[in-house]
């Protein structure tokens, strides 16, 4: 067995890593919503096809994936040193680096920094890390208004909703729903607003432009943090991020500690992998990089908050560790047949889909997201598209193992599933027992009609609710083989 180092996980009660109900229950509601399934099906299919087309253009795509994987493995192996290197380089260039052990501490640091500026309005660049820690809620509690400036994130914020996709937070909405949200929630929007994408974008542009010009404080995440130079990188499509990163006086960036890349040159690998995997573009329209403070140009107060929030606990697990390689492209969401039918909200956490199913339970501890590792058929589509080759199916299996071990350690009586699994293993331990089990199972033939069973008791009723089940054969293969061998072929 592997040694568990007992690193702290992300604390409960703050942030958005835990759902309020198990995945199957939330998924049932999502599957029953045909509009939701249509919206997500259409959107994921479009991105999936775009991605496949642009990836096929790159002759050395597999080598790029290997390079991305190796670089991230190198980062994880030396993360403690790389983080100190990053801190030294960024500090030397005028940034102030803060260390946050968890969501609560990160929120406290950022809130304090904003309050110290004397301003109460901030503009935000789309960021998963700040969604993860529930920063907007923490700012609101301190009387600070945070405005999301990414178009999709703005839609979600206006609708008092939660993001349902890592890259496309409003993927669960179609354009007529977005028009309704704008008409209802956006001040000064023209009454004759249509649902044409260009019209909707123009309305958002007018709404945001005023805020960009007046904002004194911006908050962002970062896609990459270069240890060698202390540089932060934000990759985006709209240019709204660039506005936030350049116009305000103060810039505060919350970045997960796993976002480190060793050298500036290593970005060449990730800046090829990320846009093709995420938006299906050869290159994203805006890549912003900044290193500390540039006197007289851009924000003059630059803060970086390095966020742990359970990441060190993930790092301590030799199998689960590669989850931290994730560059948040969301290619795995777009190919996942489960995600396509449930959308992101069913996963509870801000990290949905296959990567969320392995990341969230590791950040919070398996007990708080126990249903997520089972929210997959292990079909492997996610592993095939992952730009850094995270073996998501293997980690799902690993987390299921952790869950079962933890349940058995904390309960005196085994679960019905554990009893069934133990019984099956016992019966399969020897061919004699297995043959007898097969004989016993033939009782089920009494329930069958033309070899099919249409109704079984719980929990197998969950199968027969929508599918017939085959009856055990009258003669097993081994009995047939035995009879054949004694008769001669």
């Amino acid at each position: 067995m592997r040694v568990h180092l007992g690193m702290p996980t992300a604390p409960p009660g703050v942030g958005q890593l835990r759902g309020t109900e198990p995945f199957p229950k939330a998924a049932r509601r999502a599957v029953a919503d045909p509009q939701l399934r249509r919206n997500i099906g259409a959107a994921t299919r479009t991105i999936r096809e775009k991605r496949a087309a642009v990836v096929a253009e790159v002759a050395d795509w597999e080598q790029l994936r290997d390079a991305g994987r190796e670089l991230k493995a190198q980062v994880m192996a030396g993360l403690d040193d790389y983080l100190l290197q990053f801190e030294a380089a960024a500090t030397a260039r005028g940034a102030v680096v803060h260390w946050a052990r968890d969501a609560a501490e990160a929120n406290r640091i950022v809130t304090g920094l904003v309050l110290a500026t004397g301003h109460r309005d901030v503009v935000k660049v789309k960021s998963m890390a700040t969604q993860e820690i529930g920063l907007n809620e923490a700012l609101a509690d301190a009387g600070i208004t945070a405005l999301e400036t990414d178009l999709a994130e703005l839609i979600v914020q206006l609708d008092h909703d939660k993001p349902s996709h890592i890259l496309v937070p409003a993927i669960h909405r179609n354009r007529s729903e977005i028009r309704e949200i704008f008409l209802r929630e956006m001040a000064g929007v023209p009454k004759d607003l249509t649902d044409e994408p260009s019209d909707l974008a123009e309305a958002a542009r007018r709404h945001l432009r005023e805020k960009f010009l007046s904002a004194k404080v911006a908050i962002s995440g970062a896609n990459f943090a270069v240890a060698e130079t202390g540089t932060l990188v934000v990759v985006e499509s709209e240019g709204n991020g660039r506005m936030c990163l350049t116009l305000p006086e103060t810039l505060i960036t919350v970045v997960g500690i796993e976002k480190i890349v060793p050298t500036f040159q290593d970005l060449e690998v990730f800046l090829q992998l990320l846009p093709r995997s995420s938006t299906g573009e050869r290159m994203n329209p805006y890549t912003s990089m900044w290193t500390g403070v540039t006197p007289g140009d851009g924000p003059q107060q630059v803060h970086v908050v390095l966020l742990d929030n359970g990441r060190t606990a993930v790092l301590a697990d030799s199998i689960g560790r590669e989850t931290l390689h994730c560059i948040r492209c969301s290619a795995c969401l777009n190919v996942c047949p489960v995600y396509e039918r449930t959308g992101g909200h069913a996963y509870g956490s801000v990290y949905p889909g296959p990567i969320g199913a392995i990341l969230s339970p590791q950040l919070t501890g398996i007990e708080d997201n126990a249903s997520l590792p089972y929210a997959s058929t292990l079909c492997g589509a996610c592993y095939d598209v992952c730009p850094v080759k995270i073996d998501i199916p293997a980690i799902l299996v690993h987390l299921r193992q952790q869950h079962v071990e933890q349940v058995s350690a904390h309960h005196r009586l085994p679960s019905p599933e554990a009893v069934a699994m133990a019984a099956a293993a016992w019966a399969m331990a020897t061919p004699a027992r297995w043959g007898r089990a097969q004989q016993l199972s033939r009782v089920a033939r009494l329930l069958s009609r033309r070899g099919q069973i249409s109704s079984l008791p719980f929990p197998l009723s969950r199968w027969t609710g929508s599918r017939d089940a085959p009856a055990p054969a009258a003669q097993s293969f081994r009995d047939w083989w035995g009879a054949r061998a004694s008769d001669g072929p």
Partner: protein, 246 residues
């Protein structure tokens, strides 16, 4: 060639015709089949549900049973996938390096049926006749764990009388996923509904695949809908001589 048949627990108990077809096919091709009768189960269900401790004894048993054989075949992509990609992993989790190496050695000699036919025996035309409209579902573990690619299709294209039609969105999972089908029945059913819609769109009489488990799922759905489309294992088509036995 002397070939050991690892028939899988599911085929042994519920779909013996698939095992019989595998024997018929390989004997027709002139090979000697052995069925090591001590075999039980590869432990995939235990591993994938989180019960690797129970699976460990099944892995050890499987290794002991199949170690004496040079070539092992199974009519199941996912069982071969488990042997090849999970058995050594389970042994190592419980610090049994010796068992892990033995498991790797057995795995290296274990083939899924289409791999055995195409790669080991060098065949694409196995002399089958199956005069029906057929569509092929490439199961996830055949496709993405074993990477069998188009081997099953190459075999099917040589079947006499077959009308092979392409399945739309073929590489998308049918929603089976072992215990997933029960733990997440609603999502599983939604995935199956889309798979069946694609199968029905082909107007095929038969949906085939290299895994009885996925066929049990697709076939169970098709049976519930009373579609009369049959789920038939690849081995049964390749073993067929065109007589209307099935």
């Amino acid at each position: 060639m002397r070939i050991a048949l690892f028939v899988s627990c599911l085929v042994d108990s519920i779909f013996p015709d698939v095992g019989k077809a595998t024997v018929t096919l390989l004997e027709r091709l002139g090979h000697e089949i052995e069925f090591p009768s001590a075999q039980t189960c590869c432990g995939q269900m235990h591993i994938n549900t989180g019960y690797q401790r129970h699976a460990l004894s099944l892995v050890r048993h499987h290794v002991e049973v199949f170690e004496p054989y040079d070539v092992i075949v199974a009519p199941s992509g996912s069982c071969v996938g488990s042997v090849r990609h999970q058995h050594a992993m389970v042994a190592r989790r419980f610090d049994d390096e010796l068992l892990a190496r033995r498991a790797e050695a057995v795995a290296a000699r274990t083939y899924e049926l289409s791999e055995l036919l195409v790669d080991v025996l060098g065949l694409e035309d196995v002399g089958a006749r199956f005069p029906h409209r057929v569509t092929y579902h490439p199961t996830c573990h055949s496709l993405r764990v074993l990477r069998v690619g188009d081997r099953p299709l190459r075999l099917l294209r040589h079947v006499r009388g077959i009308d092979l039609v392409e399945l739309p969105e073929a590489d998308v999972c049918c929603g089976f996923g072992g215990t997933f089908a029960v733990k997440n029945a609603d999502v599983s059913t939604a995935m199956l509904a889309d798979k069946m819609q694609n199968v029905l769109a082909t107007r095929a009489e038969v949906c085939t695949a290299g895994d009885s488990s996925c066929l049990m799922h697709i076939g169970g759905g098709l049976s519930r809908l009373r579609t009369r489309v049959r789920a038939v294992h690849l081995a049964e088509i390749l073993a067929s001589d065109g007589s209307p036995a099935r």
